[in-house]
């Protein structure tokens, strides 16, 4: 009971710092995942178009995913130095696999007869991709984005090891000063961020599924 009271008063005193950490945390995640969304979707499209390249691209992304997060960040630090960019680069690499894989699967599951119909009525490859395949693959791509975002929120907590900011700072301060309360004050918002990201992106994913409800207004 005492700890909870202490925690509340600590948060009240330091809320501006905690908000800053949360903001930094989010910024790293959003930058890393956003870049991965662009690169991963493109790579996923390449995989779907050139089936022979798919195993290589997916294997490479898999290998990146297998490297322990701390090791990956440490290696990146050698090249990018301490700080924000190293963390963003790490989160970017970490988010690639789910996005590439889901884009690939999403495009691949589009009914072949729709692709045939699209070609047959005179769509170019790009028109087919933008008007038919990507819209129908959207729920899959969003699912990949959601997995990537949740992983990235977690990985971002070890940013302080390579000179990054974010809620990890509070957790590490807690560890260093043997202060359980500060560990909680860092860990709870980090977990909440992951849960919220999961909920919001999950809802977006469901909304992306093409509705079968009649449209009310003319497009």
């Amino acid at each position: 009971m005492q700890t909870i009271k202490d925690m509340i008063s600590y948060v009240q005193e330091n809320y501006d710092l905690l908000l800053l950490y949360t903001g930094q945390h989010l910024l790293m995640v959003v930058c890393g995942v956003f870049l991965a969304l662009i690169a991963g979707t493109l790579l996923g499209i390449v995989c779907a178009r050139y089936k022979k390249a798919a195993p290589f691209i997916l294997a490479l992304a898999n290998i990146i995913q297998i490297i322990p997060s701390l090791a990956l960040l440490a290696i990146l630090m050698v090249y990018f130095g301490l700080g924000f960019y190293t963390v963003v680069a790490g989160l970017f690499l970490y988010s690639l696999l789910p996005i590439i894989r889901n884009t690939y699967v999403g495009l691949d599951q589009v009914d072949k007869s729709l692709v045939e119909a699209g070609h047959g009525i005179g769509m170019t490859y790009l028109q087919l991709l933008l008007k038919v395949q990507l819209p129908l693959a959207m729920p899959f791509i969003m699912a990949g984005l959601r997995i990537a975002a949740v992983i990235a929120v977690g990985v971002a907590t070890i940013a302080p090891f390579v000179g990054g900011d974010g809620l990890g700072r509070e957790i590490f301060s807690g560890i260093n000063s043997r202060n359980d309360m500060r560990i909680f004050v860092g860990a709870i918002p980090a977990s909440l961020l992951a849960i919220i990201a999961d909920l919001i992106l999950g809802r977006m994913e469901r909304n992306m599924k093409y509705s079968t409800k009649p449209k009310t207004s003319q497009p």
Binding site: E116, A117, G120, I121, K131, K213
Partner: protein
């Protein structure tokens, strides 16, 4: 007018898909490409919108060699309907119909007018259907939309790849009728691929019969039925139809073809019931279908026996009884490939009104009835003209 000249198609694995195809397809007619699966009918059709490129030979549309034309531009001028309908599920009906006009960058007003006009043409009121999604429509309605999508950009040529084969028989008949009616107004050059001879005879102005990558015979349905080029064509058209169309059945009766088999004679939907059906409802079914016995099958349509109306009536006062209690087993059944005389002989000797037809797994596929035999007789021996 579409012209194919000495067209060959070989695939990289050495498979010879098409051999020396020469066709002149007249404008404004329905040309049906027909043949068994793998005969190259779809391949030939896809040459016309360059979904497939020939290995050798030339294809002309209105005198222009299309091998030099940009395939995307070409396809926008040729309507295309596929077997699996291929409506885009994330677009409304109106968006689906408008796809090609939008690719061609028509005015939005013109597009909307066209969409409304076309939907009305196939009896889908625009105000009801425009903003629905394909998933909300029945298969037949969806393929109507598939057909008008191909018409939207006012192409002169429409390619249809087995467009109605995935539909239920009733929708299929309706769409065939609608297509022929539609064609009277629009007068397009339609290339229609099918493997169903009934469909071909019904809708075609010109039939192109293919086998193993070669054209076997080209002609109107009437020409092909009356003068089949060879045994393959005879076989493909089917014995029944040849008999129907033979000018003088007395001069060349069955002997050339042999005796028709059971499957040519049988009715394929005899009145059946499950063994757990109650007696009163069985009686009702018999009254509705005007039969005096029910063939009893299990849920996999395996033949169990039959229930004559007398058995049903004698037990009807007992409400707990079901068909299984009054059922009798058949003494005899025939296979679809047996000569129909086997059935005839049994019916004659036992004074049986019908014989069930089962396949090797004892599943009911039809029945040879007195009515079906009378029908066969009238086909073989139509009323001679002198008598009329």
């Amino acid at each position: 007018m579409i012209r194919l000249e000495k067209v060959y198609k070989r695939y990289a694995d050495g498979f010879q898909a098409l051999t020396d195809i020469n066709l002149d397809l007249e404008a404004g007619k329905i040309h049906v490409f027909i043949g068994p699966s793998g005969c190259g009918k779809s391949t030939t059709m896809k040459l016309i919108n360059r979904l497939i490129t020939p290995s050798e030979g030339k294809i002309f549309i209105d005198g222009e060699d299309i091998t030099g034309v940009n395939p995307v531009q070409l396809r926008r001028k040729i309507g295309y309907v596929i077997q699996n309908i291929g409506l885009f599920p994330h677009m409304t009906i109106s968006e689906n119909v408008a796809v090609v006009p939008r690719l061609l960058k028509w005015d939005e007003d013109k597009i909307q007018n066209k969409v409304n006009e076309l939907l009305s043409l196939v009896n889908l009121p625009p105000e009801t259907y425009k903003n629905r999604y394909p998933g909300e429509l029945s298969g037949g309605q969806q393929q109507r939309v598939g057909v008008i999508r191909a018409l939207a950009a006012e192409p002169d040529i429409i390619l249809m790849d087995e467009p109605f084969s995935a539909l239920d028989p009733i929708s299929r008949e309706q769409l065939q009728d609608e297509l022929t009616n539609l064609q009277e107004n629009i007068q397009k050059t339609i290339i229609f691929v099918t493997h169903d001879m009934d469909e071909a005879i019904k809708i075609a102005d010109n039939i192109v019969l293919m086998k193993a990558g070669e054209v076997v015979q080209v002609g109107t349905p009437e020409q092909i039925l009356r003068h089949p080029a060879n045994d393959f064509v005879k076989e493909f058209i089917g014995k029944k139809r040849l008999v129907e169309h033979r000018e003088n059945p007395f001069l060349n009766s069955f002997d050339a073809e042999g005796v028709p088999s059971v499957k040519d004679v049988m009715i394929d939907k005899p009145v059946t019931a499950s063994p757990s059906r109650g007696l009163a409802s069985s009686l009702n079914l018999m009254e509705q279908r005007r039969v005096d016995s029910l063939i009893i099958v299990d849920k996999n349509r395996k033949l169990l026996g039959y229930a004559p109306i007398l058995n049903v009536l004698s037990e009807i006062s007992d409400e707990t009884k079901v068909l299984a209690d009054v059922m009798q087993s058949f003494k005899f059944a025939v296979k679809p490939d047996d000569p129909f005389t086997v059935a005839l002989e049994f019916m004659g000797q036992n004074n049986a009104p019908y014989v069930p037809v089962v396949n090797d797994a004892n599943v009911l596929v039809g029945a040879v009835t007195r009515g079906s035999i009378v029908r066969l007789m009238s086909e073989v021996y139509p009323v001679a003209e002198e008598v009329l």
